[in-house]
């Protein structure tokens, strides 16, 4: 992909299929790949967490997260889930928000919030397992 001035491609040829965001194929594929993982992880979490943590109590929650398989699966759920939802929300923002400043502000927020929450939540699962 050469965008240099010596390129033989026309201006129209260079911008075609790139859309408002400049790219999108990577997001399109990531959205679908993550959805396959979440189609397994999300129902697993909903059912097993509901069955293990019936009374929403602190001890039942710690007990659930202390199981190594549960801890790994919850970390995967958080990491993949928050990435998936960030991509989805990016799509919605690009579709509905026209004002450049609002759009950029929301896109930044939609990048920062899932990232901070994912790191915080994964660190929390590790603290439950390895913390003092």
């Amino acid at each position: 992909m050469s965008n240099s001035e010596r390129s033989m491609r026309t201006a129209l040829g260079r911008v075609r299929h790139h859309g408002a965001a400049g790219e999108g194929t990577g997001h399109f594929i990531a959205q679908r790949v993550t959805s396959i993982a979440l189609a397994i992880l999300a129902p697993w979490f909903a059912v097993s967490a509901a069955l293990s943590i019936r009374d929403a109590s602190y001890l039942a929650t710690i007990d659930f997260l202390s199981d190594p398989v549960n801890a790994v699966a919850v970390i995967l759920l958080v990491a993949i889930g928050l990435y998936h939802m960030s991509i989805g929300m990016t799509e919605i923002i690009l579709d509905y928000i026209g004002k450049p400043f609002t759009r950029i502000a929301l896109l930044l927020l939609n990048t920062a919030v899932p990232l901070i929450l994912a790191v915080g939540a994964i660190f929390a699962v590790m603290l439950v397992n390895f913390g003092v």
Partner: protein
């Protein structure tokens, strides 16, 4: 391009207010709405994990919310939204292969996704109430 319509006469995107509702259109909109709802649910999931890691004193807040009637209603709606987003997401993965795109097939699978969203939280409630 002598016969090209002027900008004022060009066909416009189907506005919701003048468009006859049909089920495949509803599934698309509900998919986005449930996606936004699950964004909130994922934020709640991260907060739940961080509260558990922070200790019993902090976890009391989460326990109180989840045990209250509005917390229970929220969990019920989250299960419904997750079930819908899951069923319709799988439907879209099938669409991506090129299958199930005829109007009859798309209508049938659309109704199935809606049915699953209604049935799944009832099934989850039944599992927790009458199950093991």
């Amino acid at each position: 391009m002598a016969g090209a319509p002027s900008p004022e006469n060009r066909p416009i995107a189907p506005h919701l207010s003048v468009w006859r509702w049909h089920v495949t259109m509803a599934t698309s909109i509900i998919h986005r709405a449930t996606g936004v709802g699950l964004y909130g649910a994922a934020i709640g999931l991260a907060i739940w994990l961080m509260a558990a890691a922070a200790g019993p004193e902090s976890y009391v807040i989460v326990d109180t919310i989840l045990s209250a009637w509005y917390g229970q209603v929220a969990l019920y709606l989250i299960v419904a939204a997750l079930a819908y987003h899951l069923a319709n997401g799988i439907r879209h993965l099938v669409f991506d292969t090129g299958a199930g795109l005829t109007p009859a097939d798309a209508d049938t699978s659309a109704w199935f996704a809606i049915f699953f969203a209604v049935a799944a939280p009832i099934g989850m409630w039944a599992l927790l109430t009458f199950g093991a």
